[in-house]
Symmetry: C2
Subunit: 153 residues, 2 copies
């Protein structure tokens, strides 16, 4: 099953967090399933927070950020009754703003589940609710305002 | 001149973004100067966003996050008329929430300036305003709610 990011246009696939064309990055892979998007990621132990054993805040923000823009694209395709990779004009979002709430420490060494739901989609603007959980416990929540990217001619 | 992070207690110095004790991380260094804190960082070219030539959002959130908690600590020391490394009980903050506004693309290959100002400090809670600029242009702004960390006995 192809991830949302695998459908990004080649020109816009260089993101360190999730771009298939970035040889160094995290290669986050997001999927849509019904009303929800999901991604799974296990940070390496070096991505520690100040206190060992927990994930550092920047990694958690990165995961929400990349998953959020992927989710926005997937929801926008669905709203237009389109399928990613259908040969039509590609839909790609960038982050306008991201609010991250760190609700409890996120443990290292555990697979993290990042999920997204669509809050609203109007014109070029999508609002995505995000959660990040470890072992069934929600550790981080977020809200993203994503804006559809229109490439300059 | 020692950075704020160089005064973090050894036990809490493992952050990938800014911990002196993390051998793999970014080692962000923040300083306080009057009413403002500042840090400078030049992301390597691999930290690209979806479109080459710009910094990816997760890196920018990381820089604000680490600089924000450092700023909170520095402002809290000053509010208590203390100096970091004075031998008293260490003051260390963690992120409660972080809102990041991406105002324009942040270019790669340029030194970024991250600055913080204290918005409020009440009890264990500090609110920090953050900006990230490149070549004198503000690219990202943020607001952090930081919470003083109290180690469990």
């Amino acid at each position: 099953m192809q991830a949302i990011q695998d459908h990004y246009p080649a020109e816009f696939s260089h993101c360190y967090g999730c771009g298939p064309a970035n040889p160094h990055g995290f290669h986050l892979k997001s999927y849509i399933d019904g009303e929800r998007t999901h991604a799974r990621f296990t940070p390496a132990s070096m991505y520690s927070g100040g206190y060992p054993g927990n994930v550092y805040g920047g990694m958690l923000a990165s995961l929400l950020d990349c998953h959020g823009t992927a989710s926005a694209a997937a929801f926008a395709y669905r709203a237009q009754s389109r399928v990613m990779g259908d040969g039509g004009p590609p839909i790609r979002f960038v982050t306008g703003s991201l609010k991250v709430d760190y609700r409890r420490p996120t443990p290292l060494g555990v697979e993290l589940l990042i999920e997204g739901t669509l809050c609203s989609l109007e014109g070029r603007k999508a609002v995505i609710d995000l959660t990040l959980s470890a072992g069934g416990e929600v550790c981080v929540t977020g809200v993203m305002v994503a804006v559809q990217f229109v490439a300059k001619a």
